[in-house]
């Protein structure tokens, strides 16, 4: 397997509308390492689904190159598609057929035995309901069926676009466990989601896009790394603030406490204690993906405006 499961360079997609040309994806360089679960984050309309649709040959790029599992696509897509499972946007099946019939049609089109349908149905917990008509399924069941369809191929790469949409909390947990399990088993998963906590819990690396452009990419740790913020509580806040400022330690007052940027909290403790200012609380402020994402996309919105 190549080092990168997904790679795009200068990927661009323009849509012609009555009002002119709309750029959905703008010169996107995406690099998804092989193995593990990679988050693909971005606000609505940021070009995530369009990028996925181009990777899977459902939409043509205006320009740029793409590779899936090392093969250039769309030219060599038929050669790799049997190793790629995907759910794009909402699940799309024939409503009057049963879930099982829908899966059988897909499995037979790639020549896999019907027994794999049973296994996939069991994996996503649809056993017993697979002979119901698809139109009678809840949204959560439809999502499970879509994931079952991706498992028919026993893929090396899974591309999941908002796979937990419409699932109940138990279903969300099951799907997350499934995704984690697949990642641990060596399957590369590209998880497009707007649920940031989900990405933070499940993914090892992530790419953040906004307005069709790459905003940040790397391991989740790297993206969140570098945070030196601490929450500090002392009885005399103004005196502590003055002492820290005098010592050149960045600090601001926030919600009845001080927010201090430092990579040496012990030094801060010593500094304040030397001025008879005794701490009642010192807590590292945990960076989360949501803050990072909001910070990035807000800046991007300002740039776009």
């Amino acid at each position: 397997m190549p080092d990168l499961a997904i790679q795009t360079q200068g990927l661009r997609k323009e849509f012609r509308t009555r009002r002119g040309t709309r750029v959905a994806v703008s010169d996107l360089d995406l690099a998804v390492p092989a193995g593990g679960v990679h988050g693909f984050l971005g606000p609505n309309g940021s070009g995530k689904t369009t990028t996925i649709r181009m990777l899977l040959g459902l939409a043509r790029p205006t320009r740029g190159t793409m590779r899936l599992l090392g093969e250039p696509v769309p030219d060599r897509l038929p050669a790799v598609i049997d190793r790629v499972g995907a759910v794009v946007e909402s699940p799309k099946f024939s409503p009057n057929l049963t879930g099982r019939q829908n899966l059988l049609l897909l499995s037979r089109s790639i020549g896999v035995p019907d027994t794999r349908v049973d296994a996939a149905v069991e994996t996503v917990g649809l056993t017993g309901r697979d002979r119901d008509r698809y139109k009678a399924y809840s949204l959560g069941m439809k999502q499970r069926l879509a994931i079952a369809a991706t498992l028919l191929k026993e893929p090396d790469l899974l591309i999941l676009d908002e796979p937990t949409n419409g699932l109940d909390p138990a279903g969300i947990r099951e799907i997350r466990e499934t995704i984690r399990g697949l990642g641990a088993a060596g399957v590369t998963v590209l998880l497009s989601s707007h649920i940031l906590a989900e990405v933070q819990q499940v993914c090892t690396s992530a790419t953040i896009v906004g307005h069709g452009r790459l905003l940040a990419s790397g391991t989740v740790e790297d993206l969140l790394g570098g945070s030196t913020a601490h929450r500090l509580v002392v009885p005399d806040l103004p005196a502590a603030l003055a002492a820290l400022s005098a010592a050149g330690v960045p600090a601001t007052e926030q919600d009845g406490a001080l927010r201090v940027e430092t990579d040496d909290p012990a030094a801060v403790t010593r500094l304040l204690a030397a001025r008879d200012l005794w701490l009642t609380e010192l807590t590292p402020v945990r960076a989360d993906l949501e803050s990072f994402f909001l910070q990035l996309t807000a800046a991007d919105r300002e740039d776009a405006a």
Binding site: R60, S90, I110
Partner: protein, 321 residues
């Protein structure tokens, strides 16, 4: 490719709307056959007795004045009753030759329309449900997917139409034999051949409708275009100085009957009395022109080829929702 065609045949088989339309392809011709056989049934003795009983006044009037009825007085006693019964049971005998221009055309027309609906329903459902994108995630070679679906639709249409048409004509033939009616040599062969030509026309129509649906990505839009084409071509041929050779129905008739005639306008001078006899075939004053079967086939073949090419190109290039 064979595997893909098999999958598409299964998809066809599992679609309820398709099955209902195929069932209609069987039921409607059965009803047409039943109506034809009923309309041409021999008059039974019971019917004759009933008519005689209800027409005693008419028979008596004939017996009183037989010459007014064209009956010789010597035969009035027997002939008048026969004559009145004949009048009231003026029923034609079953004839393969007659049915080839009557109910046989109706059966072919019904098959063409129903199989066009089958094709557009089948393809339109894939677009309407969005399942076409799912199919492409498993089989991304778009040209092959298009072709597999086309082969399945056309094959099913051809087989269904051929079986129904053949069964129809064999039923007519068997009934004629059972009724001991005279039959021209080769009448059955001609009828079966017409049935198969009709089946070919239905299959081509189904293919055209499938291709149009794949191009327009909607069953409703396809039916709209087909209806608009039908009406527009009829009116345009009437309104514009366009030869009747381009009329869709004449071309369909040419395929079905392996050649037909269409009417053309002739100069007014043709009606000034110079021609007492029928004008020579193909002359300026001849109002009819030959439209051979191959020309009708080319007319529809070219149309389907154009739509098919546009459909394949569009399916291969356009983004799929």
């Amino acid at each position: 490719m064979r595997g893909l065609v098999r999958v598409e045949l299964t998809r066809l088989r599992w679609r309820r709307a398709v099955l209902l339309l195929l069932l209609a392809c069987l039921v409607v011709p059965v009803l047409i056959a039943a109506a034809t056989l009923w309309d041409t049934r021999p008059v039974s003795e019971a019917e004759k007795a009933e008519i005689r009983a209800s027409s005693t006044q008419e028979i008596a009037r004939c017996e009183r004045k037989p010459r007014q009825y064209g009956v010789r007085p010597a035969r009035a006693e027997t002939r008048c009753a026969e004559l009145v019964v004949e009048w009231q049971t003026a029923r034609r005998d079953l004839s393969l030759a007659r049915e080839r221009t009557g109910s046989g055309v109706g059966v072919a027309g019904v098959l063409v329309v129903l199989l066009m609906l089958t094709a557009t329903t089948f393809a339109g459902h894939d677009w309407n449900s969005g399942s076409i994108s799912n199919q492409l995630l498993f089989r991304p070679r778009r040209g092959r997917l298009w072709a597999a679906k086309a082969i399945a639709v056309t094959g099913v249409a051809l087989v269904a139409a051929a079986v129904v048409s053949t069964a129809y004509w064999l039923t007519m033939w068997a009934t004629m034999r059972a009724r001991d009616l005279p039959m021209l040599d080769g009448a059955l062969t001609d009828s079966l051949a017409q049935g198969l030509r009709g089946a070919g026309l239905a299959a081509v129509a189904a293919l055209g409708c499938y291709a149009l649906t794949m191009l327009l990505r909607s069953t409703v839009a396809t039916l709209g275009v087909v209806l608009a084409f039908g009406f527009a071509s009829l009116f345009l041929v009437e309104a514009l100085p366009v030869s009747g050779r381009w009329e869709p129905l004449d071309n369909a008739a040419a395929v079905l009957r392996n050649g037909t005639e269409y009417y053309v306008d002739v100069p007014p001078s043709c009606y000034d009395g110079r021609y007492r006899d029928r004008p020579a075939e193909g002359s300026t004053c001849d109002e009819t022109r030959e439209l051979p079967g191959w020309q009708g086939a080319s007319y529809y073949g070219a149309g389907v080829l154009l739509v098919g090419a546009a459909s394949v190109l569009s399916f291969r290039r356009r983004d799929v929702p």
